[in-house]
């Protein structure tokens, strides 16, 4: 297998470094430093130490018997419990990694973008732990709908800055973070929250997240004595999916399924399905699939989950789609909401609305018989409680 990306950050035609010149050398520096520390035993052991003792890894691989019954046909669904990480999502794997890298770069300040606030909280947490100054950019609309996470970031000592431009959501928070970085690039490191953005972010974030898949692969071999038939995860930018997919890419019998946000439906304008309904273009410094109009302007997106409410997707997912190694499906807002309630009521697990999309896809599609499936439960749903209570949706809507 050829190691991707190439030295310029390309996965086939995807990826790359489509950025203004001011940022170019900072990305080169980040890439060089990252390649230097990546296999440095001291950095590795510091990273692994934090994963184990600070985040609480390894996270369990749990056979969800009640969910399996709902899926039916003798299929066995294992949940990779990323919701049990410190701060409640997989995001922390990456922020610890990039936080430690920031120290190696000799920079004292980090910035980050956030949608639902989970990456913002994870960055603020890593910054607090590692003694770094932290500023988080968040769309004005997301600040209003994710208030508890805004408070958490502030309590952790971070500054939260509202992105007031464009649609005032995640994509605009990314824009503002880039603009801020352009101005402060010599003193500041940008901690990207997903496998998106210019090289080296997609590869670096994947490498920090692959611990999810590495653990899951080892755990399933121990529990089942064989590889799974399928690995599935929700895909917004795609970091939890890339993290769990990556170690299985060489295992050709393992089907990889990413689940995008179909919002109000793929045939409406209100969704976040960049792969299923997008086209090739450049967003936030990388070539990938994206939602754009015929003139190349970025489209507004919609998803009930803020973390999937993004018009782009990581370039390596575009590559996996293009070469057929992974397939990308979707679940609607309503389906995700039903799946959320089902997991609450029948497994006693309150999942993030993002992860609920992957559960919904399993529940609503025929995946065959007697399959062993690993589903990445990327985060817990506490952050969504206020929003869901506001919808006053009845649990009777859950599939019976």
């Amino acid at each position: 297998m050829i190691e991707l990306p190439d030295s310029k950050g390309h996965f086939g035609v995807f990826g790359g470094r489509y950025v203004p010149e001011t940022l170019f050398s900072a990305l080169q520096e980040l890439d060089e430093k990252y390649r230097e520390v990546k296999d440095d035993p001291e950095f590795r052991s510091e990273f692994l130490y934090h994963l184990r003792h600070y985040l609480g890894r390894p996270t369990p691989l749990y056979l969800a018997r009640n969910l399996s019954k709902r899926v039916g046909n003798g299929n066995r669904i294992y949940l990779k419990r990323e919701d049990l990480n410190h701060t409640g999502a997989h995001k922390m794997n990456n922020t610890i990694g990039q936080g430690l890298l920031t120290k190696r770069l000799g920079k004292r300040r980090v910035i980050a973008e956030t949608g639902a606030g989970m990456h913002g909280v994870a960055t603020a947490t890593a910054a607090a732990l590692l003694g770094l100054e932290c500023e988080v950019f968040m769309g004005e609309i997301d600040i209003a709908r994710q208030a508890p996470n805004v408070d958490r970031m502030k309590m952790l000592g971070a500054t939260v800055t509202a992105a007031m431009s464009g649609t005032r959501t995640l994509k605009d928070a990314v824009n503002e973070a880039f603009r801020c970085w352009t101005t402060n690039v010599t003193s500041t490191n940008y901690i990207m929250g997903s496998v998106v953005g210019p090289h080296p972010f997609p590869a670096m974030v994947r490498d920090f997240q692959r611990v999810i898949g590495d653990e899951a692969r080892e755990q399933i071999l121990e529990l089942e004595g064989r590889l799974p038939d399928m690995v599935t995860a929700c895909v917004g930018g795609g970091s939890n999916a890339m993290g769990i997919f990556y170690p299985f890419i060489g295992d050709e019998t393992v089907e990889l399924v990413g689940v995008e946000a179909a919002g109000k439906g793929l045939d409406t304008a209100l969704h976040g399905a960049s792969i299923s309904r997008g086209s090739i273009g450049v967003l936030h410094g990388a070539m990938s699939f994206m939602l754009q109009d015929e003139g190349g302007q970025v489209l507004e997106t919609h998803s009930v989950s803020a973390g999937l409410d993004y018009p782009g997707v990581g370039p390596e997912h575009a590559w996996l789609k293009a070469n057929g190694r992974a397939r990308y499906e979707s679940a609607t807002d309503d389906e995700a909401m039903d799946a959320f309630y089902l997991l609450c009521r029948e497994e006693g697990i309150l999942p993030a609305l993002e992860s609920s999309h992957a559960i919904a896809w399993l529940l609503n599609n025929d995946i065959g018989e007697n399959k062993t499936v690993i589903l990445c439960l990327s985060g817990r749903g506490d952050k969504d409680m206020q929003y869901i209570s506001g919808l006053r949706q009845s649990p009777a809507g859950a599939k019976k």
Partner: protein
């Protein structure tokens, strides 16, 4: 006349060049067309036509808002060639197109180069496409006789300056400071040292932009480089007088004229 020839002629006269930027279609097509047609007469030696984009990474709030205004009024890249051609009918200043890459990629790079070239554009500057990502597109642009202008920033290391100097024609666009287009203080002392260093390191003419809004700044930088680019300060005048076109044009004329005067020996 080409940008290359314009810069050479001005240099012979010991005069700094002025490139003036505005956004295509801001605040609407007709007003925008009149602004571009007038820039040359007001004193601009080079006209820089900005392409509206929903998510520019390098632009400050003034240019972002101008893109939003143009897009709201229905700006379409398909209409750009006709727009450029219209400007060229009554204006002789050479034209440079500045854009983010995604609209161009969507339009098709080859088609874009062909269409803007035949409409009369001299050069293109794709702000978020470094030389590493151009690949064959560089030859395509050359085939259509278009200049390809690249940015050079305070963070650009020496080794990259040579790379950029090699591919950037007919000039190198030197970014004055760290940060996005528009507002912010310029430290003229430091900027002069930096511009002198760039000028001595590259073979191509050097135009300096980002944050230039005063005749004194233009004079100081113009004496070190081949000229200056002014953008956000002009667009801010447009923005402040959306309801009073006569005043908008009078102030733009005064502003552009003032900068040009400062660049003369």
């Amino acid at each position: 006349m080409s940008i290359e020839k314009t810069l050479a002629d001005l240099k012979k006269r010991g005069e700094g060049a002025l490139a003036a930027f505005a956004t295509a279609g801001d605040p609407d097509r007709e007003t925008s067309l009149d602004i571009f047609r007038s820039l040359g007469a007001w004193g601009a030696d080079i006209i820089e036509i900005g392409i509206p984009y929903s998510d520019p990474l390098m632009d400050g709030p003034v240019l972002q808002r101008s893109y939003t205004r143009a897009l709201k009024r229905g700006f379409k890249l398909d209409a750009l060639p006709a727009f450029v051609e219209e400007i060229g009918k009554t204006s002789t200043a050479p034209m440079l197109i500045m854009t983010c890459c995604n609209p161009v990629l969507r339009y098709g790079a080859l088609r874009f180069f062909r269409d803007v070239s035949s409409a009369g554009a001299d050069s293109v500057l794709i702000t978020d496409m470094p030389p590493e990502e151009w690949g064959e597109s560089l030859d395509l642009a050359r085939q259509f006789n278009l200049g390809t202008i690249f940015l050079l920033a305070p963070t650009t290391p020496m080794s990259r300056m040579q790379l950029i100097d090699g591919v950037s024609t007919p000039f190198v666009y030197c970014v004055s400071k760290m940060g996005v287009t528009g507002a912010g203080e310029l430290d003229l002392e430091r900027l002069r040292d930096y511009v002198r260093f760039v000028r001595d390191s590259v073979s191509k003419p050097v135009m300096v932009g980002f944050g230039i809004s005063e005749p004194e700044q233009a004079k100081a930088i113009g004496s070190m480089a081949d000229g200056v680019v002014v953008g956000s300060a002009a667009v801010a005048i447009i923005e402040r007088h959306l309801d009073d076109r006569a005043r908008m044009f009078a102030l733009l004329e005064k502003f552009i004229g003032g900068l040009k005067t400062a660049l003369k020996p």
